[in-house]
Amino acid sequence: MKEWLRVFGNGLSFENPLTVLMIGLCSTLAVSTKFEGSLFMGIAVIFVLVLSNVLISAVRKFTPDEVRIPIFIVIIASFVTIVDLSMKAFVPAVYSFLGVWIPLIVVNCIVLGRAEAFAYTNTVWLSVADGIGMGLGYTIIIAGLGAFRELFGSGQLQFLGATLVKFPAWYAPPNILLLFPGAFILFGLIIAGSHAMNRKLAARKQVAA
């Protein structure tokens, strides 16, 4: 169980896919203009990541080394198709907002990267921890970025059609936050912050040990 928690926690901090491993950036920057869209994107990635990790880890003993990548991709693509069709059916508004990003989960480096680097060499139980941890690490950053950009860039925060927060009329939202440069610059600052935080955490661990 301790090992499980360690793997789970790594996904959130020291091996966070976005800020440390720097994989899966494309979708993060592109869909984080809206809180709602980025939250659903995170959920979709958690779903695909956990299930594909489990399946790949379960069949790892019968998978020939030479053809593992095509096998991974087919497994991942089937789960992505499930997400693609369910989202189209149940949350059509979010689906049309996310657009091409749902099929692109197939080639999202996080999913394939974790399959190759973790699930293929570890047990099913640990792969679940890795999937949830990595997925949550991704979701937290993307949803946070989405909430920040929507709140300060458009002056309000919406979720499933309801307005959660709205700034008074005198607030003139800086448009740049919603545009592409805003995403790049904001994300640069987030990485700087999380690197500083990880350095501090590591230093505290050394002092304690």
Binding site: P70, T81, P103, F184
Partner: protein, 206 residues
């Protein structure tokens, strides 16, 4: 509209206005991963142009002549496309190694990486389902339009990658605050570069 003008607009729109890296954030992993060396990024750009055009033509034909007639285009296109792309990349690699060693040496190591380059799958998907890019265009691209569109996307990729690499090589020598050193600074640079692309969008009145 004159068809030639329309094709030009499609090309420019795909290459610059809707630049796949800087305004649509697709394929950022390779963008930040390999952009620290000019030689590498030129090789990668050439490989992407080559593979992307081939992959999109193949997937376009498969979508319209195999998947749609069988009635499975809606839910089998993701696995079908990615398999076609992976197989095609392997095939191109083997072919080049045998028949054109010079070209293989120039872009050999980048070819396998392209399988997981999201830009190729994105271009292939959008060649059959042009979701975002409908300006004055019929909803479904014909074969010619699909190729022009993909070529535009690929050239835009190379253009953005090479210009960003040039910036990053200069940045190595610059005085940057310690907190922002490395990746954070690259992101901020990319942000400023993509500001320029917004200007292009208004230049073409889109």
């Amino acid at each position: 509209m004159n068809p030639v003008v329309q094709m030009m607009l499609l090309f420019v729109g795909a290459a610059l206005v809707n630049n796949i890296l800087l305004t649509r954030f697709i394929a950022l992993c390779s963008f930040f991963g390999i952009s620290d060396n000019m030689h590498t990024s030129i090789g990668m750009s050439l490989a992407v142009i080559f593979v992307m055009v081939m992959a999109s033509s193949a997937t376009w034909l498969i979508y319209y002549f195999l998947l749609l007639p069988l009635g499975v285009g809606e839910f089998l296109y993701i696995p079908a496309f990615i398999l076609v792309i992976a197989a095609l990349v392997q095939f191109v690699e083997m072919y080049l190694r045998k028949y054109s060693p010079a070209l293989y040496r120039a872009m050999g190591i980048y070819l396998p990486l392209i399988t997981t380059n999201c830009a190729v799958l994105a271009a292939a998907t959008e060649a059959v389902k042009p979701g975002f890019f409908t300006m004055n265009m019929p909803y479904a691209f014909g074969f010619g339009e699909a190729i022009i569109y993909t070529l535009g996307v690929a050239v835009g990729y190379g253009f953005a990658l090479i210009s960003f690499t040039a910036l990053r090589e200069r940045l190595e020598l610059a005085q940057v605050p310690a907190v922002l050193k490395g990746h954070p600074m690259s992101f901020i640079t990319a942000g400023l570069l993509s500001l320029g692309y917004i200007g292009l969008a208004s230049l073409f009145g889109l």
